[in-house]
């Protein structure tokens, strides 16, 4: 059992007591069916990319599974384990019907709870699976009801009135209020996401001119999609840098000139941290010795002076070669916190002589503009995976259409480090490469990392075991939760 020396074979022994709700055992055949479904192009499962390196799954017996990989990788266990196992019994349902099918009641479970109802009126209703094979330490909860409450005040009132036992996604102000209530417990954890200020490193005029020529060529070739090829966009970034953000000194100056702690204290009531890089703690790939750049307006001014910016005409705004330091940051209009942050950043940068304008953008238009490189700068958020791969965000190969290097940050040293780290199998060497990449990120500042907000789970005191919940999975470990109720009352 385990991973072979060449890391191309992973053998698993499955429990022989795990059962689906219909009594059938969970076997290797179910795993094979799941893998086949995940790789089926007609279903277009978003995580299919994680399965690319898995060549096939062999089943020497019902409870033995052998995965064969095309290449070794650092996250092979995660790759095989991504998303839940599906029962082979659903194979009889034609796949073209899957997207149109109401799955409530059709999908057998194998976990601690079974789905009883999933509809608008009741929400998602789960009941204890009496044939659960996991042998929990305590009896399972009889019933779990999951419901959406769109309005924060309503949720708060329900929690305080005892109508609701657990609430996920509580806002900081509500969490502070709940912490003062002796009937409540609030679990605070750093979220697995971060909000950043992104920069376009390509000269917009050069890009527009490139795009005009490219579209003419596409029309001639009959290519309707007309995507941006990554190498050409990366070349543009190198040869025609953005007049402001093509310069690392300017990006560093902006990071130094933004008081991120003040933003956090003002709008998140202190419930956030400033991550120095996109590799978040406590991932081992993150170097804990790296500190975020501290707020230092004098150092910011020095960087700007070195980059050639000065207030030559004495109007209070910086200029370089007669052009004022002026830019627009575009913000997703649906996110009030990001708008608030943008307004504070504008004020702080004005103190440095930088004229930053804030433009709220309707959600769909925001992404259209971002992907179409119609932004100088933007505020957005990334959710973080525990698979660390910075080539997705910062490699020149990710500069084209479909890539996530929206600002086309091109730095040969950072790219080489990220590629080396991404392909490295040896644990220590991989970590060293990522730590070096973080140092380069710190120096180059392709993003200004704004904050990593805490996430809250609030629960009434009578609910025990909720510490097992995770920031991105409130119900993690729910099979160990239990409810303290007066004698004679039903568990719920």
């Amino acid at each position: 059992m385990g991973l072979s020396d060449d890391r191309l074979t992973l053998e698993l022994a499955l429990r022989d007591d795990a059962r689906w709700i219909d009594g059938q055992p969970v076997t290797c055949e179910d795993l094979a069916f799941t893998l086949e479904v995940q790789k089926d192009p007609s279903l277009a499962w978003p995580g299919a990319g994680y399965k690319k390196a898995i060549e096939r799954l062999e089943c020497p017996g019902p409870f033995r599974a052998v995965y064969r990989f095309t290449r070794p990788g650092p996250y092979q266990l995660m790759d095989i384990n991504d998303i839940h196992v599906l029962p082979r019994s659903i194979a009889q349902i034609a796949r073209k019907e899957w997207r149109r099918l109401d799955w409530a009641g059709r999908l057998p479970a194998a976990g601690a709870f079974r789905l009883v109802a999933w509809n608008e009126a009741e929400g998602i209703v789960l009941e204890r699976n009496d044939s659960f094979w996991g042998a929990p330490a305590r009896p399972l909860l009889d019933r779990i009801v999951l419901r959406q409450v769109p309005e924060t005040t309503t949720l708060l009132a329900q929690l305080l009135a005892g109508d609701v036992h657990v609430a996920a996604g509580v806002a900081p102000a509500s969490a502070r209020r709940l912490e003062q209530d002796e009937q409540m417990q609030v679990i605070v954890r750093p979220g697995w996401n971060y909000v950043y200020l992104g920069y376009n490193t390509i000269n917009p005029e050069a890009y527009r001119e490139y795009r005009r020529r490219r579209e003419a060529a596409c029309r001639r070739a009959g290519d309707e999609a007309c995507p941006d090829p990554a190498p050409e966009i990366a070349r543009l970034a190198r040869e025609h840098p953005h007049p402001l953000f093509g310069d690392a000194r300017v990006r560093r100056a902006l990071t130094l000139g933004i008081d991120r702690r003040l933003i956090i204290d003002t709008h998140l009531l202190g419930y956030a941290e400033i991550p120095p890089t996109p590799i978040l703690a406590p991932l081992p790939e993150h170097d804990p010795s790296i500190e975020p750049l501290a707020y230092d307006p004098d150092a910011a001014r020095a960087e700007l002076r070195e980059a050639g910016f000065a207030d030559a005409d004495g109007d209070g705004w910086l200029e370089r070669a007669g052009r004022p330091f002026r830019f627009t940051v575009q913000v997703h209009a649906g996110h009030k916190l990001r708008m608030d942050a943008a307004v504070m950043i504008k004020q702080q940068l004005a103190d440095l002589g930088i004229d930053m304008r804030v433009e709220p953008v309707e959600p769909a238009a925001f992404y259209t503009r971002l992907f179409g490189r119609q932004m100088d700068s933007w505020i957005a958020r990334w959710r973080v995976s525990t698979r660390v791969d910075m080539t997705e965000l910062f490699d020149p190969e990710a500069c084209g259409t479909g890539g996530a290097n929206f600002g086309c940050f091109v730095d040969a040293e950072a790219a080489a480090l990220a590629r080396r780290a991404h392909g490295e199998i040896d644990g220590a060497a991989r970590l060293a490469a990522w730590h070096a990449w973080e140092a380069r990120f710190q120096q180059q500042q392709p993003y200004t990392m704004l904050f990593r907000a805490d996430q809250f789970l609030a629960a009434r005191r009578e609910v025990h075991g909720v510490e097992s919940s995770a920031p991105n999975d409130a119900l993690a470990g729910v099979e160990s939760w239990w409810l303290e109720r007066p004698a004679g009352a039903d568990r719920r």
């Binding site: 299919a48 509809n119 009126a121 769109p150 109508d163 259209t368």
Partner: protein, 324 residues
């Protein structure tokens, strides 16, 4: 009958226009209809496959025609956000909305009608003061704010009623238990919708009753010894029904609009909440399906109000059929 047929054709044409405009607006909005392009985790090939799986790779005109031909059969496609047939989602949400909006309309009509009648009958009395001050004040308050105040006072501080949802999370046994459970969940959202809604009803009823009570036949009836109670409640009330029926027809869109806000505040699992989340998520099939249902209900409500008016005042039948 010609009138009814004519109104039905007009209603169908209005519905088609509403749906076409909605499709056009959603199509013209920038960005991807399904938000697929907003997910950087999807590569171009996966995005293309997902678009094809959802039928989004078709030209807009073909998608529009497909939507209409399927919608006529009651098939609105599959919700992109909920991964379920739109018809199932809407049918589940329709019942709670009808329950909430219907109960609220009934309560606002009965309350407004009773208060308006009483206020006209007894000027300066308690009902008169309520019609002149309390109800207009409630009508002036945004339903969102009124809902939150009701939750904070009656759900949290006093604990009299549940703050949200249509049913309790705990299982309820028996038909009586289910009825009571629904009833207590209805109290706050219905009150927030019905109390402001009663204000215009009461005002119209008060005005109509005042007019009726000043007519010579009322004075003649009273002079002939008919009791005031009989005159007011048997004769004058019926005579004042017509403006009330008109008001119901005109007030239906406002009630549906108000129900959207109230459904969000009280987490009521109705069409309003479904529609709101569909709009925010650019779930085009669900938005269009919901629009057909809501617009259809409003248009049908107006048609029904016209028919009831015709029944209440037979003179209108002649006018509509061209025999005036």
């Amino acid at each position: 009958m010609r009138f009814v047929a004519g109104r039905i054709v007009t209603a169908a044409a209005t519905l088609l226009l509403v749906v076409t405009l909605a499709f056009l607006v959603l199509e013209l909005l920038p960005g991807d209809p399904a938000g697929i392009a907003e997910d950087p985790a999807l590569g171009p090939a996966e995005q293309a496959r997902l678009r094809a799986a959802l039928g989004l790779d078709e030209p807009p005109v073909r998608r529009y025609v497909t939507f209409l031909t399927h919608a006529i059969r009651g098939d609105f496609g599959v919700s992109i956000g909920r991964h379920r047939p739109v018809r199932d989602v809407l049918l589940e949400a329709l019942g709670p909305t009808v329950l909430l909006a219907g109960t609220a309309m009934l309560v606002s009509l009965l309350l407004g009608w009773a208060l308006g009648t009483r206020a006209a009958e007894r000027p300066g009395g308690l009902a008169d003061r309520a019609v002149r001050t309390v109800l207009p004040a409630l009508d002036a308050v945004p339903p969102f704010w009124l809902g939150l105040c009701a939750i904070l006072l009656f759900a949290w501080k006093l604990g009299w009623f549940p703050a949200a949802h249509m049913t309790s999370a705990a299982p309820v046994s028996g038909a009586w238990g289910t009825f009571v459970d629904r009833l207590v969940h209805l109290v706050l959202p219905v009150s927030v919708l019905a109390l402001p809604g009663a204000a215009p009803v009461a005002r119209h009823q008060w005005s109509a009753m005042r007019r009726e009570l000043l007519r010579p036949w009322v004075r003649a009836a009273l002079a002939n010894g008919v009791s005031r109670r009989r005159v007011v409640w048997r004769r004058a009330v019926r005579a004042a029904l017509l403006p009330l029926v008109t008001l119901v027809g005109l007030g239906l869109p406002a009630l549906v609009g108000g129900a959207v806000v109230v459904e969000v505040v009280f987490a009521w699992p109705g069409l309003g909440r479904v529609h709101q989340s569909a709009l925010l998520g650019r779930d085009v099939p669900l938005v269009l399906g919901g629009l057909v249902i809501v617009a259809g209900a409003v248009i049908a409500g107006r048609l029904l109000a016209d028919l009831v008016s015709m029944w209440v005042d037979p003179r209108l039948r002649g006018g509509w059929s061209g025999r005036r």
